[in-house]
């Protein structure tokens, strides 16, 4: 795209005047200007889907809360990213995520390296105020190198996107609705029997929690390597 065709918008985020290209999202602009908006399903290098709703912000003149990751900037927008109201909504969202499945942090492979766990801490959550559901979720360890533990999954779909957009295999998908939703490989077959999986491990590295992990890792040992992602995106875009 040629620079001439891009319009520049000016807006306010938390009272600060900022400039942005018209095709940018509130989240992008905030990040560029060093303004922190919490996120979970967002990961630089993957398309935004607004799934987790942690990045909800307030926009003056709109009664609804808008997800910063998929909301485009507009001229004269006044955005609040850190109000008490937002903090409360974010806390409830994270609490619901914790209550939905079985996140036993103390014995999780990703204990100490988990985006959900650290998000709870950042938001000052010291307990979950909604009742735990504790559903019986399976663990798929059929893959030679990786484990899929549905107990720890928060349905951010980073795995689905990285597999489709970056690796190009589209092994992952989502089945079911609401509380029945879960990520699946191929047509809901065991991961180890997948014909499409290239065993590249990108899904494991982008997973925010201990849901996808490398086999052989003990508790707390699964820290994820994500530096490769912006690089891969860059390389792909650079290609003719």
């Amino acid at each position: 795209m040629s620079p001439a065709s891009v319009e520049i918008k000016t807006l306010k985020i938390d009272g600060r005047d900022v400039g942005a290209r018209e095709d940018q999202t509130i989240l992008e602009v905030a990040l560029e200007n060093g303004i922190y908006i919490p996120t979970l399903c967002h990961l630089e290098g993957l398309t935004e889907i607004g799934a987790c709703r942690i990045c909800l912000v307030e926009v003056k003149g709109t009664p609804k809360l808008l997800p910063a990751c998929v909301t485009r900037v507009q001229e004269g927008m006044e955005v609040m990213v850190n109000s008490e109201r937002l903090q409360n909504y974010r806390k409830v969202i994270v609490e619901l995520l914790f209550s939905e499945r079985n996140h036993i942090c103390s014995v999780c492979v990703s204990n100490g390296h988990c985006d959900l766990q650290s998000m709870a801490q950042k938001l000052g959550i010291t307990h979950i105020s909604v009742p735990y559901r504790h559903p019986h979720m399976p663990v798929d360890a059929s893959h030679e190198r990786y484990i899929n533990d549905h107990n720890r999954c928060i349905l951010c779909t980073r795995c689905v996107r990285v597999c489709h957009e970056i690796e190009g295999a589209h092994t992952w998908d989502v089945t079911g609705r609401g509380s029945q939703a879960k990520v699946i490989t191929d047509l809901n077959t065991a991961w180890g029997e997948s014909d499409t999986c290239t065993s590249c491990g990108k899904c494991v590295q982008v997973c925010p929690t201990g849901a996808l992990s490398e086999k052989g890792k003990s508790v707390s040992e699964m820290s994820k390597r994500r530096q490769f992602l912006p690089y891969l995106t860059l390389m792909r875009e650079g290609r003719p």
Partner: protein, 473 residues
């Protein structure tokens, strides 16, 4: 028939209650020790990856998590079918010994010294570690320091005092740095001095506990524990050995899944703690004891110079084996001394700082058994996995289960001796509890009860002026 309930049994590691059945003339007819909680670890691990087991199973117990880490990791080593690096084994040994020190210190100073120092019949409101602090500050401080010593070593190695994840299938996750080694070494002289001081004090007190020695689970039983090739005390690695009350070895070199041929497990209708028994003799004749007393009864030597001197003196107490469970305390103190000496030896090992501390492999066996000596006795973890490495079944044989039959019999013995007539006296009941404390049971899963005693409750307003400032009610 009258029933007396002691509930909760206090100053033990776990929660339990005791019922005494008294006949019309006031004599105790029967005594039962009940463990009142179960968490079902043998079930909750089902379907989980086996690599999660050490850290998960450590959550069985916050006092001896290291024992569970070790037994579990050894069972996983067997599943991987690897020989872990020598240095990893030595580092695991150090952590195990450190835990023996802290756990024994807790048992002796924090839980039992109030009985020993203040007296079995002293004021229950003061009969605790804070009471010891008031009566003999040196002893309380020694206890706190010695426990701290053990906990600090665990932290130096594993990064965390309770539930460190450092012991993993295949070895340990991080090598020891020179700085940390020197840090531990600097702590050793004080720990050694405390061990000596306490042993000397305890030996000077033995005479005044003749009555307790005679009645605290003092009867012939078998003893079980690990011993190494030379028949020395083995806490990390060895083979299961059984001896009889005369000290004759009746089974030896029991290894891996073989334990099932010797150790039977029996449910008890009124307790969440199962009893184990020596299978060839059946239930309940196959009663045996484990833990410090058993270990010192069945080994030939301890293996470090000062502890061996003390061991020789200990074995002079009786002709064959030392039978009174009161002497668990004595054996515990000797083991503390041994642990401090052995940690010193291991830290001087030229290989101890080696960076090669982990072996990697996938699961090569569908089944693994791991055993080690926990502070309270032999601990066995036994796992089976499916072809993907998920647990299909687990069996855990815990130290206190081995002692359950002996604890029950001991409670009856001491109750028969001290509890007489319709009138209950505090000192009597405390002795009944003290015999349980001597075994240092780690029930690791228990609750406190408010008690069945009539309780007249008057709610009154908050009186602590200091806390009023919080404005909560």
């Amino acid at each position: 028939m009258q029933k007396i309930t002691i509930e909760p049994v206090t100053r033990i590691e776990g929660h339990a209650k005791i019922t005494l059945h008294v006949d019309d003339s006031g004599n105790v007819q029967d005594a039962r020790f009940h463990v009142t909680q179960v968490r079902g670890f043998e079930k909750i691990c089902e379907g989980r990856p086996f690599t999660e087991m050490p850290a998960l199973m450590a959550r069985i117990c916050g006092i001896c998590p290291v024992s569970h880490l070790i037994a579990s990791a050894k069972a996983c080593d067997a599943i991987l079918a690897v020989r872990i690096p020598e240095t990893a084994q030595k580092l695991r040994r150090i952590m195990n010994l450190a835990q023996i020190v802290q756990s024994h210190a807790l048992s002796f100073f924090h839980l039992s010294s109030p009985d020993l120092l203040l007296g079995m019949e002293s004021d229950p409101a003061k009969r605790n570690i804070l009471g010891v602090l008031a009566a003999n500050p040196q002893m309380a401080r020694d206890g706190i320091r010695l426990r701290q010593f053990g906990q600090q070593i665990i932290e130096c190695l594993g990064g965390k005092r309770i539930h460190p994840g450092w012991i993993v299938p295949g070895g340990v996750s991080e090598p020891l740095t020179q700085e940390r080694r020197d840090q531990i070494m600097a702590m050793l002289p004080e720990a050694l001095a405390i061990s000596h001081r306490t042993l000397t004090w305890f030996k000077s007190q033995i005479e005044s506990f003749r009555k307790e020695i005679r009645t605290f689970a003092n009867f012939p039983t078998l003893f079980m524990g690990l011993a190494n090739e030379e028949g020395e005390l083995a806490l990390y690695k060895g083979w299961i050995r059984f001896i009889d009350a005369e000290g004759n070895i009746i089974a030896d070199h029991i290894n891996g899944p073989e334990y099932q041929n010797y150790i039977g497990e029996c449910g008890e209708p009124d307790s969440y703690l199962k009893s184990t028994y020596y299978k060839p003799m059946g239930y309940p004749e196959g009663i045996y004891r484990v833990g410090p007393l058993a270990r010192l009864n069945l080994c030939k030597r301890i293996g470090t110079p000062r502890a061996d001197e003390e061991f020789a003196e200990f074995r002079e107490l009786e002709r064959h084996t030392v039978l009174s469970s009161f002497y668990y305390h004595y054996a515990r103190l000797i083991e503390i001394l041994f642990a401090v000496e052995r940690i010193d030896q291991l830290l001087h090992d030229p290989e101890i700082l080696s960076k090669h501390v982990r072996a990697f492999a996938g699961p090569n066996n569908y089944e693994g058994v791991g055993g080690s000596e926990a502070p309270r006795g032999t601990l066995i973890h036994h796992y089976k996995i499916d072809e993907n490495g998920l647990i299909t079944s687990a069996n855990l044989v815990i130290a206190t289960g081995h002692n359950n039959l002996a604890i029950n019999k001991g409670v009856l013995q001491v109750a028969k001796h001290f509890v007489k007539g319709a009138k209950l006296q505090e000192g009597m009941l405390n002795r009944v509890e003290a015999v349980v404390r001597a075994f240092d049971p780690c029930l690791s899963c228990s609750t406190h009860a408010l008690g069945q005693m009539a309780m007249h409750i008057e709610l009154r307003g908050p009186d602590g002026a200091l806390l009023d400032a919080l404005g909560r009610n």
